[in-house]
Each structure stands twice: as C-alpha cells, then as structure tokens.
Symmetry: D2
C-alpha cells in the first residue's frame, strides 16, 4: 500500500520566501503531508500559519523543542516522520541536532551550519543514528544536472580536466541592509560569509556532484563591494580537484542584472558539457570530432536517474519548484522504504546528504581562510 | 478564514498522463483538495486510484453520473465544489453538461467538445447557471504570456498588425496508431481533427488571448502525412483578425525533432514581441528605435497579472506545471470568492472560459471547412 | 597560372548601399578586379566614383551602353570579363540583356526583372549565348545553408514534408516614402510588389535551394499596412511543393524590431533542421530518436560544398559579406575555368542562376495573382 | 583625393592561415594595396606567392631585410607605407624592430615579442620614431566590443567592480605535436607560454580595452594537460584591477568542443554587460531596475566608434574578417592622415598599439611567474 510521509516544519513563518518553496516542493508529488510546524520563533506568528496551511492548531507549536517533544510522544503513523528546517542559517545546527536526537529524519536548508565543528557534530550524529538527512542543494534536483552526472560517471567525457562553476546574482549590488533580507548580510545570522555561504556553496556542491570529484586545494579572493557591508558580496576562486583537474568557481551578489545565473561547464579529455540553471531543461554536450548535442529534459534516451526525476515528456519545461520537489520526492521514497523495511539502497534515490553539508561548510571556511591569507590553501575538513 | 476548494475528477485513471498533470497543478498552491473521482469508465480501474491518491474509497465512484448524484447529496462544505474533466475529447461534452446540470463548477480539458453545437449548448448552460467554467488552455497561465497580454492591452505595441503563432511537435511523425496514443488519431474519440484539435487550438487560443483580437477569416491547408492516418497531422493557416491584422497559425505533429515548441510573435505599429513555450520565462519586446528588451518572469516591474501568477523571484524558472497551476489557482480563488459571497470581478483573476471553448471548437470546424473547400472562409461560430 | 577576373559595374554610385556590398564581396577573395563602371544614370555622379574606387577615369562611363560598347572593343585580357548589375529593379532587364548581347557574363541583383516575360527573355538569351549568369540570392552563399542543402540532398532528413521560410524586417513600419529608400515602395521602380519582391523572393529562393523542391501551388495574403503606400509591406503565403510537401513562406517589412531575420525550417520524415540568417554559423539538425545536433561553420566534418565556401576554422564567425563573396568567388572560378577552357562542371561551383531568377519573378507574379484572387493558384511560370 | 596605402608583408607564405586572414582584412575596404612581401624565410616559397597574389615578382623578396632595404630606396608613393608582420611569434621582434628602423609603420600579430625586454625595446622605438604601430588584437575590432567600451567610458555601467573574460578552445585537447601547428606548443617558437601567449593575451587585452582598467595583481594556475607537452594548454587567473575591481580571466586549449569562445562580462555598480565572440553582433546590457537590453551591430543609436566600425545595417552579420579589417581600416586612415599631414588625433581612429603589446607580453610573464610561485604577484611591466 502506498503511504504518505508526515512532515513537520521549523521556520517558514509569515512572509518567509524559502519556507513556501519548501512546502510547494513537498506537496507537488503527493508523497508528503505537512502535519505540524514551529514556523516562527515568535509563537504568535507561528500560530498564524495554522489557518494559512489548514493545519490542526494543536500541532502548530510555539517552538521546535516543544514540537519535537510533543510529536515524539505520538504514535508512529500519526507523528511527523521528518522535519524540514528552513530557518535562517544560524539556527540550522541546533534544530537539526535536536531533531536527530529526538529520532526524526531531517531535511535541512543550506549551508548546514555556521561552523565546520557543528557540521561534524551533525554528521557524526547522522552516522550514529542512521537517520536520513537531506540538505537542500536543490539545483542537483534538475533532471539535466543528473543527466550530466550520469554521463560523466559513465566515462562519456573521459577523464575530467576542467570545471567552471559560476553563480552570479545582482540583487545585493546596492545596500539593502535596512531591508528585510538583512539577515543574509548579518554575520550573526549568516555566518562568516554572505555570498559564498548563500550561493557559492551551491556552485561548489554542483561542481562536486556533477563530476564526482572533490576540491583538494583552492585560492580565493573575496570582496565586499557595497560600502558598510561587513561580509563578502563577491568571490572568485581557483580550484584544484583531487584527480588533478583544475577549475574556477565564482559567486557574486553584485553582478548587476543577473538573476540566479548558476551555470556549470565541465571538460574531460573526450568531451565537454554545459548547463545553465535559468534554462534548466537543456544540456549541451560537446565534442571535438562531431557536432555538439542538445540533451533535453524528458528525452526517452536520458539516463535512469534523470528519467526518474522528470514528470512530463520533453518540451514541457520543468522548473525550480520541480527540481526542489525532486529532493523531497527522493527523500520521501527513502523514508517510506525504511518505514516499509525496504533497504533504501535498492531504490537508488539520490539527494544531497550530511556529508555534502560538511564539505559545504568546510568550503566556506577554506575560502575565507584563503582569501584572508591571500594565497592558496589545501582544502581541509 | 482561508478555505480550500474541493475537487472531483472525471478521467485521469491509471496511466493517463494529463490527469496527473491536472492533479499536480491543482495541488501545488494548496488551494484545492481532491476529494472524489470517477477516474475511469472502468469501475475497477477507477477504484485503484483510491489507494494511489489517498482518497476515501467511498468517494471513488464507478461513473461520473454516480459521482455527481452522490456528491450533490452531500452538504456544501463536504461535497465537491467543482469537477475537473480530463477524459479523452469525446466525453467532455456529456460530462461537463451533467456537471453543470448538477450545479457543479467545471474545469475542462480542451478542445471543449466534439462539435460546435455541443459547445454552444455548454456555453448556454454556463450563461444560464452562472457556474464557473475553466477550459485548460494552460499556456495562457505563463506569467510572460500574461505580461504580453497586459503590454498589448495597454497599447505599448500600438495597433496590432501581424500575429504568428506556431505549435510544432514531432511525436506523430511515424505511425503510433498501434500504440496507446491511438485515441488522438481516432476520429471517434478525437473528433474531426487530430493536429488542429489537439494543439492547433492552443495556437489559436494564445493568439486571441494575447492580442485580444478575434479571427475573422481564415484559409487552411491540412495534411495527413503518415500513411494510414485519417486525421490531419499538420496544418498551415492564414488568418485575418477582426481589426484587420493578418497572420499565420500553424500546428504540426510531424515536425521531427520538435518537442512542444509553441511560440508566438506579435507586431504592432509601435513594437513587437516574441515568446516561446520551451523557454517560457523570457519575453522579448522589440522596438525600431531602441534596443530590444528582455522581460523576465519575476521582475518587479512586470504587470499586475503577470506578477500575481508568479511564485518566485526572477531567475527561478517556472515551468509547465506552474503555468497549469495558475489556471487552477485563479479558478479556485474565484470559486472561493463565490463561496464567500464576494464578487469575483473584484479579485480580477483570469482563466480561459466556456466562450473561449466555443471559439476553439469553431476554429477547428472552420479550419476543416476551409481546408476541404481549398480556400478562404469567414470565421463562423 | 592563376588569373583575376575583370569586373565592370552598372549602378552602385555615390550613396548606394548594395553597390558597396557587391564591391566588398567581389574584392574579398582577390579573384576579381574592378576595372570599369557606369555607376549612375547621371554621368557626373558616375565619374565621381573614379577617384572613390581608384579606377582609370577613362573606364568610368556615362552609361551602361557606352561601357558595353567600349569594353567590347578592348582585347580579351584587358576588357571586363563580366558585369555586375546593382541598379534598382526596373533597370535590371535592359542592362542584363544588353550585357548578354555584347557577350559579357553577368552578375545581377534580384529580383531579376520587373515581369515574367522579361525574365524569360533573359533566360532564353543565357541559354542561347551560354554565357554565365549569377543572380545574387546571396543568402544561399552561407556555408550552413549549403550544409543544409547537402544533408537534404543526401537523404539525411528523409522525404521532405514541411518547409517554413520567413523573412521579417521592421524598417518600413512607418512611412519612409519621403526618404531615400522611396524606390522600393514605388511601383515604377520596384515592380508589382515591394515586400515580396525585395525579400519574399529570398525566402522563396532559399526554400527551393535548400530542399531542391519546387513550389507547385500557393495561396497568398498581401497587405499594405502603412497609410499611403501602394505596394505590399507584408505577405503571408501557404505553399505546396511538387513532391507533396506543404509549407509557409512569409515576408514582412512592418515587423517592428526585426532586422533581417530570414530563417528556414525543414522537416522530413527522418529529421528536421533550422537555420537563421542573423546567427548564420549555426545549423540545428533535429531528430526524434537522438539529441539535436549543432552543426557549425568550419567544422571539419561538414559537406564538401559547405567546406569550400568557408574561409576560417570553426569559431571565427563568417558573416553577410563572406556569404555574398561566396557567390562572386564561385562565379569567378567558373568564368576563370571558361577562360582556361576548363569544363565548369568539373569544378562544381554553385551559384543561383537565370532560371532561379525566372522562378523568383514568377513567384512574385503568382503571389500577387493569388492575393488579388483571394485564393489558391497553381504556380505558373 | 583619396589614397590607398601600400602594404608589404612578412610571413604568410603558402599554407599559413593567419597570413591569408590579414590579407583579406587589408583588402576588404579598398584602403590598402599589397605591393610587396617576404612571405617565407624560404626564398623559393616566398617567390611562389607572387603568382598567388598577383604581385610584381621583383617585389617578392627573399628576406624581410632585403625587402626593407629595397623598399626604403623606392620613392614615397611607390614604396610600401607599412609592413604587416604575420610570422610565428619568435620572429615578431626582429622584424618589427628592423621595420621601424627603416622608417616603416608596422602592423604586427600578437603576442608582440617573446620577452618583456624586447617589447620595451619596440615601445621605445615607436615612441622615438613616432611611427604608427598596430598590434592585431583583432577582437577589439568588433563593433559591439567598441560599443561596450563606449558605454563603460561614458559611465553607463557606473564604477566597474567585476570583470570575467574567458577564451576557451578545444583543438589542443589531444596531442597535435606531430602536426603542422607544432610551433605553438614549441617553446623555441612560441615563447614561455602556449595557451596564455596565444589566446590568454586576447582575453587580457579585451578586458583592459573594454573597461579602460589595468590589471594590478594576479594569481595564475597554468596546466599542461596533454602528456608530452611542455607549455601550458590551460590557465585560470584571478585578477585585481587598478581601481579595485576584481575578476577572472581564463584561457584553455583543452576545453573539448569549444571553438573560439572568447567572451566577456563586465559589471559596474549601475549595470552589467555580456559579449561573446561567436555571436559578435549582440551585446546584452543588464540592469537591476529595468529589462536587459539587446544592443545589435548596425543599430542607428550605437556609439560613434561602434558606428564607424560597421559596414552594413543591423541584421547583416559582420564577422571575424570584418572585425580584423576594422584594425587595418583604422590603421590605414591614420597612415593616410599622416601622409596628408593631418593630425591623426582629429580623425579618432582606434587600434591596439605597442603599449598594449608591452602589457600583453608582461601579462604572459606575470602569469607564468605567478603560476610558478603558486601565489599572487603584483603586475609588473
């Protein structure tokens, strides 16, 4: 019998953008039901969401701690199966840690924690409890990103030599510090980096995800262009991968006119490829000895995992929410498998996990260290 | 207090593509709850969907007639508020007619009916009952299509002179008649046209929607290229609009390599514009005296309706399902307003209606007539 | 020993755009030397070009008649080998006829003549004299257009079913009749059509060139949108080809914001292709069963004729002038072969000829006839 | 009276690609006449070019030294006015130096010399002799590159913060060392760098040309990926400019499937822009508060210099050869002005000069130094 997984949410109260995205993503495939939440550190605001989301008011809690305690007392089959954490960065660690300690599976927004030490604590806890943990590096959910990964893993491009991963945005080109997004540029809430923490980690994650390589050394140049801003709003990084491949990763929030222009190019000794988030259903695969090819979401010849993460035939554009939903869908399948005592390995669902989170937080730390030292650093976890 | 609208579904049983799309679209914004269905003309198959969709088995019915009767007996607030009709074309009329007669609002897939006479019956019934009727010309749900419409309505492009609307696909380039899609090429189920009925009506609808013009005269050339096929798989049409504008509409299912390449170009005496469904978040607006402009979904300066039909900031691609969901969302808002005794006109939601459906069916009839006569025909309803 | 061919020019005096383009095209490959000209019907203006073009003043003539007479008296090896005719349309016929009668090979701008009768006279004269005649349908000079032709001729796309050829411009969207381009909209100088005569014939020619098919029947709808204009500035045409293929050809000079957006799409029962003049070095080839392919000018695997008409390796964009120069280069090679008593067939150079010109003028006539009759016409020469 | 400038050429013998490009570029606008050459270090091969190029055999010389001596003895008005140097890199210095010492203006291919010391010698000689010197950084000849420069110089983008300049190619992804291009990967002929010397300098030059900024500091990572190759075939570079702007420059010859994909993005505090060499007639200009704009070659509203370097109206693509020809055309205008005793400053023609050449060679040296040191270096001349 099919089952729907029960979700609780921490964060995502009135006006929060990313909370709504998570809820749409969780809802899309009808595999997940939102059953409870602690939507705001302000209990009044949290309660407002009961009407908004058609939730039982008794299950809209004033704090995540209260929620975990109360839900843990409910019987399996009624209580939430996992929690989705969509708070600002600084709260991820304590909420995720508490959730794991209460025995709940976790979906957590990125970057996972404020420090590498915290990240390692979570990783150790996940390894110990064997609970499922999904970090929402949502861009890896796009079918064509999975197609790229599958082609590289199958050796189609040969040995990888060069990786270029970019994430330019323009929205912080002028001072928005007096406005609502302030938390991203506030070290107390965002951590040691704004630009690299918020979007540079996506560029790093997609590079490692698609290639299967790990960054081994890097040299970063962070800048804070907008007067009065303390954290970086732009960063350029040379990288070397563990197999000897070289590359460039950059992220920017002051690239005026850019929206969310994450893109990646990978070159091996046989072929190359190129993908852009803003036109996500196209993957250009490049060769020296024959014409470049245009792979498209929904094509029957795509790889198994690309195909599994596609909802419609080719030509029906799948977007940001669908990619995000793929993480939730895959996570739900794995949690359902465990509830049904099926080995999750058998169903081959993939989503970013806690160890990707450790690498992401370490990437931020290494980038800041390199930029401060004005030179190359070995990538350390 | 917020409310969720209750949906029943007719059609969309095991394996049906479009039924699943409708359900995802209805689900995305959490404004609609699926409460019942008659998913197949085969009662056994219909019942299978109860588990699939986590529905009360008592509300999964063996026939639409049974569903309408049973639901009509339930109290408001429990019974379905509207029905979504996702059957093959031939059944739309009888189901929609019965739904309206039972007092239910209707969402219906296109083309609305098999004949113009049937279409007029439905229109008269809607006009008489004042029930809400949404025809799922889903491509009008894209934010950039609404932006195009708003700019033209505001006179930004001047008087419209030329419209080109194309919908090429390639999937019927070879004979699939022995396969499951057979109903589309079967006159008994699909009607007097395959290509124009299935996708040509979308091209017609988007042209009239975006420009606000009506086709007044047309000259069509339909072809059935694949041996053994009785209905058209390609059609080219010259059109004249009621304001004197001229244009071309074409649809094809034998354009090898094309996926779902609906696109429209409109030129007025001041400006032009271009939109393509496969990259739906970009609208190119063209001028003779200054550079072309790239309008993008999510830009803060977009029109009110474009903005209302957008979920995420610029750079987060919204796709086919989101556009489809916009129809359901707008329809749900209108039905909710009526349940709350609010005048729907006040909330300015738009979706294609029963009179668009009459025009669509008449378009198919006029096109077939013109092609048969090998000459121009005045557009008659 | 290599030789340069000697060119005379009729038209292209001070301020004429297309004359300068012809001269750059003739000059680019160093196969042709401009030796004389009658650049204007105004002898004074013609003489001004002697200094401009570094020509012997004695060979800048006051009229084409004077030029042909004088040059014909010079010995071969000194006199011009061919004449390039770049006058407004109305003068093409008399100049070309005189040139042929004086024994000169001809390069002539399009449309070839004002009437089909004139066109046939020229064709008969060319057939009789066996002189070389090149009509500058310059867009067929692009390497990727030749690649498209070669792939279709080799059967790569299968039997051709559908052809869409468009040529939208916007420059005549407002009245320019008081300005210098007036001759194009003046029936006395331009003929029975403005838009179809000027650019529609390019769309027709490229469709027939690329596919190898001939238009057999058509239905046209011409409009003159700008008040006070007597000739068409927009035309939409349904076409049927001699093999049963169907298609659409349209041209427009009132498509605001369009520059010179000639493009063609062709679909056979195996594959499709798409080419756009404004990005001329890319040819998209489309398949149902594998990814679309991006063919590019300069790729080593292109066809023989595409390769021969390319000057630089892939990635060095070749443009409008290079395509135009390909016509001159191929024509020069053929004239040189004849001067060297080599059979031109052996060197396999291609350029549009006098019979393409007859078809082009007949196309204009058939389109005007069809539009006037408001119905289909069989294509008659 | 108009005049044509007389050109001699050194290098560009049988089979040389770039020599032919220079000759087409010099020929296109009819401002330059090739009158003599020393086309090969092999006198026999050089002589073969007399027939090929329709040159007086007496002026096809066995060596550049012989040419400079002989031509210097001819009267002005007959002798060559300037020399175009298109030899492999290692010979640029000695030929250019000799030309300047003989009083000839110079057009020289890039990189200018093998060492910074040599570059400075040439610069000093140019400064002393006041002869004209054009270094063929041909990509700066594109109209849209000039448009970008003009918009930035006019402050349209505000203070520049970020520059990304890339030049990926794929042709050296496998070993071609046994083939004809061997000289590029041979340190004796190419200098201390292959990839950065050949194409990285273009990326550096266009970045400095478009922005008007100078690189002040850099950190480079060069790699030689192909086994057996001694010079770099890939390089990634972080840069800091003299105004505090940051950026990335990279070049690659192992990016499989890339042709000649030079591109640049620049972001100021008001706007951004993007240009790609392979589609050179489009410049995207980006804003945060209004739609991005598509500037196009040939638009009447382009800047003065962009307009001057354009031959045809918008929509007639201008390509690589036209851009290259713009350097020759501007250079010829300046030389002609000097022959006419007109101050070249008055005619405002621009082309890259000897000091750009010094910076280019210094860039190569700084990049190699930084890569060797595995860290940042201050940019030193």
């Amino acid at each position: 019998m099919k089952r729907r997984i029960r979700m609780g949410m921490v964060g995502g109260g009135p006006g929060a953008f990313i909370g709504g995205v998570h809820r749409m993503a969780a809802r899309l495939d009808n595999k997940i039901e939102l059953v409870c939440g602690a939507f705001s550190s302000n209990a009044e605001k949290s309660k407002l969401m009961s009407d908004e989301l058609f939730l039982d008011p008794d299950r809209v809690y004033g704090s995540y701690w209260e929620m975990f305690s109360a839900e843990a007392r409910l019987p399996v089959g009624e209580r939430m199966d996992f929690v989705s954490i969509v708070t600002p960065n600084f709260a991820h660690f304590e909420v995720a840690k508490a959730a794991l300690e209460h025995g709940f599976h976790v979906v957590c927004d990125k970057p996972m924690t404020m420090t590498v030490a915290e990240a390692k604590v979570l990783a150790a806890l996940v390894d110990k409890t064997k609970l499922e943990f999904c970090l929402t590096h949502n861009y890896t959910g796009y079918p064509m990103v999975k197609q790229a990964k599958e082609m590289i893993a199958a050796g189609k491009l040969g040995a990888i030599r060069k990786v270029v991963s970019e994430y330019p945005q323009g929205w912080l080109a002028t001072s928005l510090e007096s406005q609502k997004q302030v938390w991203r540029t506030d070290p107390a809430k965002s951590g040691i980096s704004c630009c690299i923490g918020d979007i540079g980690t996506h560029a790093e994650n997609i590079a490692e995800y698609v290639t299967g390589l790990k960054i081994a050394e890097l040299c970063a140049d962070l800048t804070s262009f907008v007067p009065g801003r303390t954290l970086d709003d732009d960063g350029n990084i040379l990288v070397r991968f563990d197999n000897g491949a070289r590359g460039v990763i950059y992220a920017s929030q002051v690239s005026v006119g850019e929206e969310n222009a994450l893109n990646i190019r990978v070159y091996g000794d046989k072929g190359g490829l190129e993908w852009s988030q803003q036109e996500p259903n196209t993957l250009i695969v490049k060769w020296n000895d024959r014409p470049s090819e245009i792979y498209r979401t929904g094509w029957a010849g795509n790889g198994e995992n690309a195909g599994r993460n596609t909802r419609t035939p080719a030509g029906h554009p799948e977007g940001f929410i669908e990619a995000f939903a793929n993480l939730y869908s895959n996570f739900a399948d794995v949690v359902a498998a465990r509830l049904d005592n099926v080995d999750p390995a058998k169903i081959r669902r993939d989503f970013p996990g806690v160890h990707d989170g450790v690498r992401g937080v370490a990437f931020i730390q290494n980038v800041v260290d390199s930029s401060d030292a004005h030179g190359w650093v070995k990538f350390t976890l």
